[in-house]
Symmetry: C2
Subunit: 198 residues, 2 copies
């Protein structure tokens, strides 16, 4: 098989990315060859900026281009409300809703004894420091609704409640636009238990 070396190398690099298989990597690389140099230059520039200018916020551990992230720096955001998430991607998911106007705290994972992730591996110590120095009214646990997320939520709730802070978690129930018939039993069961007056 004789393929130009730069093309072969790029296909290999793209193939290393998650959910990019061999065929997709090939199609992407060929697309980049065919496109104007400008588009390729913009992509290189964006990747270089990411490499050089991305760090983690020293307060909430969100992804940031400065020492303190835009959310922590914004004076218009509610300083008394912290939403605890697993990963920086969850911050983006919640920011996309435009429904939340508080602060974040990125744990960097969830408790998972099998993967060797304990309390020390997560940013829990840093959270406690924030709670002591900042004036926090409420904490929202927004971890994934799976076993490890639930376990971590329970652990955090036990840890935080004695501090006299209100602790809440995201509602469980039917997803908007979903179909009752195709929703799993666990979700429907929770939705029945947590039914609300209308």
């Amino acid at each position: 098989m004789e393929i130009a070396e730069p093309l072969r190398v790029l296909i290999e690099e793209l193939n290393k990315l998650p959910s990019i298989g061999r065929k997709s990597a090939q199609r992407l690389a060929l697309h980049l060859v065919k496109k104007e140099k400008k588009e390729l230059e913009d992509l290189i520039q964006a990747l270089t900026d990411l490499k050089d200018n991305i760090k983690f916020c020293s307060i909430c551990f969100n992804i940031s281009s400065e020492d303190i992230c835009m959310v922590c720096k914004n004076p218009k955001r509610d300083k008394g409300l912290i939403c605890i998430v697993e990963e920086a991607s969850d911050v983006i998911a919640i920011e996309n809703t435009n429904e939340f106007n508080g602060q974040y705290h990125v744990l960097g994972g969830v408790l998972s004894p099998l993967s060797g992730i304990g309390v020390e591996e997560l940013k829990i110590k840093e959270l406690i420091v924030r709670l002591k120095t900042e004036d926090i009214r409420e904490i929202i646990l927004a971890l994934n609704p799976d076993t490890e997320g639930e376990t971590t939520s329970l652990y955090l709730a036990k840890l935080l409640k004695p501090l006299g802070i209100k602790v809440t978690r995201l509602a469980r129930g039917l997803p908007i636009g979903g179909d009752l018939e195709f929703t799993d039993e666990a979700t429907i069961g929770r939705a029945v238990l947590n039914r609300i007056d209308i």
Copy 2:
């Protein structure tokens, strides 16, 4: 929505690529943030190499890192056999089979009056020059088995046959590993018509 600027820009750039939607772009960008700098540097290097070192072979118009591509330069490949393909991606597809040991000629498209692609837009003039200067025994038409590909194949066959060169095209029939029940009628029809002795 408050997302670090370099991350937002990269998500936008990735979203411009074919078959990379908003969510995929986001996942890819976050993956690149989390990975070690080395992986990101390798990707940037591969893209930069592609930008700086990729051109098109001056003989066959395949993608190449030099003026003449690896296939055209390789003395072990059959100089008397040219496989005509639509795009450089088709060269990779055929090279991957390891079944072909001749030369290529990349047309850069197929005849398509509706899209304004005529004979002048394709590398047909250049093909004729090759046929006059090189000692070509056989031409394989490996265009896509669709209407435009077939039309272009017919056009080329008419053009090339008077030159006394053997013109063939790729076989049509059942795909290997396919299922007769789920194969379309046109393909089965062709497979019946072109049945071969065993």
